[in-house]
Amino acid sequence: MSNVDTTTSHDNAHAQFDTKPIWRTFWILLGITLVELVLATIHLKTGFPPKYVLNGVYLILTCAKAFYIIAEFMHLRHEIKNLIMTIAVPALLFVWFVIAFVSDGNSYRELRNRYDKYQLEQSNKPVPVTEGEEAAPAAKKPGSPE
């Protein structure tokens, strides 16, 4: 978080815009994306980090990326505290927003599985891929368009 003191040391805004932090941010963003890809690839090959652990890691890394884009590229970190707060405080609504709705979806699934056994059975029944008029990707693979 920035404060007024950091800006007072500069006589004008030009000094804040040297290109070094931009490239540093770029390498951080690229690095985080590569880490995500490596983790995903390792998981695909070995299945080692369990999916639920990976999902948590992805979410943390995504928030880190979001922080760097907003703070450095959008320059919010170098604005005064009033501006930071007028953006950051409403954004906290997302915390409620995500938790409330995702847990609602989860509770819907659990209730439905408890009271609608037919639906539960259907949703766990594998279906042969070549059946039906629409071909599944596996069947379509050889002739699939570029």
Binding site: V4, D5, T7, T8, N12, A13, H14, Q16, F17, D18, T19, I22, W23, F26, T33, E36, L37, A40, L44, N55, Y58, L59, T62, A66, I69, I70, E72, F73, M74, H78, E79, I80, N82, L83, T86, I87, A91, L93, F94, F97, V98, F101, V102, S103, D104, G105, R109, R112, L120, Q122, S123, N124, P126, V127, A135, A136, P137, S144, P145, E146
Partner: protein, 224 residues
């Protein structure tokens, strides 16, 4: 625009912006705030539906193609390229803003052109991906992919995918249009005449926001 701030500045005593930014820039922030909630609502409804489903198609099975590579199994490669292109164009946009701060009209032109090219490349990639998925039989209301446990998937997956990436793609498209307008204004010397490049900064804020949304779309659709 940030100017020298005396220590112990009283921001709320009137006569000046308590946010120390120009009006238009503040309003751009508030617009992006509201746009963030629009995208947030889309992505959270996607998450709600996904949590309410017993099984869901595996993104590594769906998004595995790369242009000119035929049916090779390459999960995540193409979308990583798209992510890289968008981050790169975000960097050139900041460099354009930095050049604007330095009052360097030629450099602003140069970086704006690079940013526009990056945006067009991203749109091209997305057009290819949509065409490819459409060729496999996926579209709004049509889902050829099976859930990861082999059961029949509902059309929720394709509906959300095309709606959200489409909405994001439309933002990229408007961003490119805005950037082209800024480039033309810069070439005409409008900003040099005005003495500041704040318009480039506002366009830049919008462009970074598009990049920011892509970070979340990437995680929600391709990684999770």
């Amino acid at each position: 625009m940030a100017q020298a701030i005396p220590a112990g500045q009283k921001w709320w005593s009137g006569g000046k912006s308590p946010f120390n930014v120009e009006y238009g820039k503040l309003m751009m922030w508030y617009f992006l705030m509201s746009d963030a909630f629009t995208f947030g609502a889309f992505l959270i409804s996607y998450g709600t539906i996904r949590f309410s489903s017993n099984s869901w198609p595996d993104p590594n099975e769906v998004f595995r193609a790369f242009p000119l590579m035929g049916s090779t199994h390459l999960p995540l490669v193409f979308v990583s390229l798209m992510t890289f292109i968008l981050i790169m164009s975000s960097v050139t946009m900041v460099l354009a803003v930095a050049a604007g701060h330095a009052g360097d009209q030629k450099k602003v032109t140069f970086y704006m052109i690079l940013t526009i090219i990056g945006g067009l490349m991203f749109l091209g990639c997305q057009a290819w991906e949509w065409t490819h998925l459409h060729g496999e039989g996926a579209w709004w209301g049509r889902n050829p992919f099976r859930n990861s446990n082999g059961s029949i998937a509902s059309t929720n997956f394709t509906n959300f995918f095309f709606t959200i990436t489409g909405f994001h793609g439309f933002h990229v498209f408007s961003g490119v249009v805005i950037n082209i307008i800024m480039l033309i204004k810069n070439l005409r010397g409008d900003f040099a005449k005005r003495g500041h490049y704040l318009m480039i900064e506002k366009a830049g804020l919008y462009w970074h926001f598009v990049d920011l949304v892509w970070v979340f779309v990437f995680t929600c659709f391709y990684l999770l």
